[in-house]
């Protein structure tokens, strides 16, 4: 008999003031339907709140969604706050309307994967599944 797969836990957060949560909610449900346990933070959270919740929930990954364009400021702050809480190993994925130049810059700042408009839900779920903790 195949070894039972460990259930993965992810946190989907919306930092900043953007209230467009259709994408975040659809992804949360799609991940649930792919067998993830998903913690959803709701809209209008600070990066620090998101990082703190991710630590308490001991998630395997954090997914951030932001459409307002404030990603360059807010995504790296989530990574920073995770580090400050001794959880720099929890990988962070970001999605939004993100120009290519910013994608590179975000990756340099520790965002593991960045999704731009037009990415299928399947690709995103796969990315969460394949993620390994930092340094593993």
């Amino acid at each position: 008999m195949a070894e039972e797969k460990r259930i993965r836990r992810v946190l989907i957060g919306k930092p900043g003031l953007d209230g467009h949560d259709r994408g975040a909610k659809v992804i949360a449900r799609a991940l649930r339907d792919s067998g993830f346990e998903v913690i959803y933070t709701g809209i209008r959270r600070t990066p620090e709140q998101i990082a703190a919740a991710a630590v308490q929930e001991d998630v395997d990954a954090v997914g951030l969604s932001l459409l307002s364009g404030a990603h360059m400021e807010l995504f790296p702050e989530v990574v920073e706050h995770l580090k400050q809480r001794g959880a720099g190993d929890i990988p962070v994925i970001g999605g939004g309307i993100i120009p290519e130049e910013d994608v590179r810059a975000l990756k340099e700042k520790g965002i593991r994967k960045v999704f731009t408009p037009g990415t299928s839900i399947q690709e995103i779920a796969d990315a969460f599944r394949e993620l390994e903790p930092e340094g593993a």
Partner: protein, 304 residues
């Protein structure tokens, strides 16, 4: 984070350590046993575990959120375990209640953890019980377990709570008969939330009638406005205090621990049983007789 760091981190109230400890238990990691045997017994003994249950839409998470604020006002460190059902098809779950408690995210004295039922009937009870003890060992008192009041797994949760409050609200189409048949009997307190809505008085009356005249078992709250929260918390601690003195708390805990032992044992046996159930005879004999043979082989001779 290694096991030693987890163990020392719990006592130091380190969020990451507490969270990792709960995960080790949930995942059935062998390290969990060392963690659990390290928990400080007096802290675990003293902490009150309160169960908040009720139908979807009754306002449980708002109520829990306000209870957290109230306890923080009293200077208490609070643990919260939010339980949501896992999808039977995919095993996944969505924990959306956290949305209502985000205002406490930066408060280091509030430990919140979402747990899914993971399709294990009794197994969740075991994991949640361990999670509550880990939180208690880190200084949380009370520990609040919030769960949707429908189905077997929720009934199991109630077993591990020292005090249980059943939340209902007017306009949900709650059938009082259904409540009566199940949770009403095991709940210590009945909360009519959204008490400012039409139909609340009626619901209170019906509940009071249903539970008999025991004074103070039915309470009214308007969680969204924070009304009735202090009274509710006082009622919870009163029940707890009374039960401590009467020995009822210990009796309940004994029963819950015994059930947990059985749950854990079955969980631990499961892989062995699965291995033993392999083999070609599966189609020849009746499954029930096969099971009997397997169990017999596991029992000491005098119990066979």
């Amino acid at each position: 984070m290694d096991i030693e760091a987890v163990i020392s981190g719990i006592g130091e109230r380190n969020s990451r350590a507490i969270a990792r400890a709960i995960s080790l238990v949930e995942e059935g990691n062998p390290g969990a046993e060392r963690v659990l045997s390290s928990l400080d017994p007096p802290s675990v003994e003293k902490a009150m575990v309160a169960g908040i249950t009720g139908a979807p839409g009754a306002g449980k998470s708002t109520l829990t959120d306000k209870l957290i604020s109230h306890c923080r006002g009293l200077g208490k460190r609070v643990g919260v375990i939010g339980v949501d059902p896992s999808s039977p098809l995919t095993g996944g779950a969505i924990h959306g209640d956290r949305v209502r408690m985000m205002q406490h995210a930066l408060d280091e004295e509030v430990v919140i953890r979402s747990m899914a039922t993971r399709g294990r009937l009794g197994g969740l009870c075991a994991s949640a019980g361990a999670a509550a003890r880990i939180m208690a060992a880190s200084g949380c008192d009370p520990v609040i377990i919030e769960t949707v009041g429908v189905g077997q797994s929720e009934m199991d949760i109630i077993r591990i709570a020292d005090v249980t409050a059943l939340v209902s609200a007017p306009g949900l189409g709650d059938d009082i008969q259904a409540l009566k048949a199940g949770l009403l009997e095991v709940a210590d307190l009945m909360v009519v939330n959204k008490a400012d809505k039409p139909g609340a008085d009626m619901l209170s009356m019906e509940l009071k009638e249903a539970v008999g005249d025991r004074e103070g078992r039915v309470l009214e709250t308007v969680a969204s406005k924070g009304e009735g929260i202090a009274e509710l918390f006082r009622a919870i601690t009163d029940v707890f205090g009374k039960n401590v003195n009467s020995g009822e708390r210990d009796r309940r805990r004994c029963e819950a621990r015994r059930a947990e032992v059985v749950d854990w044992s079955l969980e631990m046996l499961r892989p062995h049983l699965q291995r033993m159930a392999q083999g070609e005879e599966v189609l020849s004999g009746d499954p029930r007789n096969r099971a009997r043979a397997i169990v017999q082989s596991l029992l000491p001779p005098e119990d066979r």
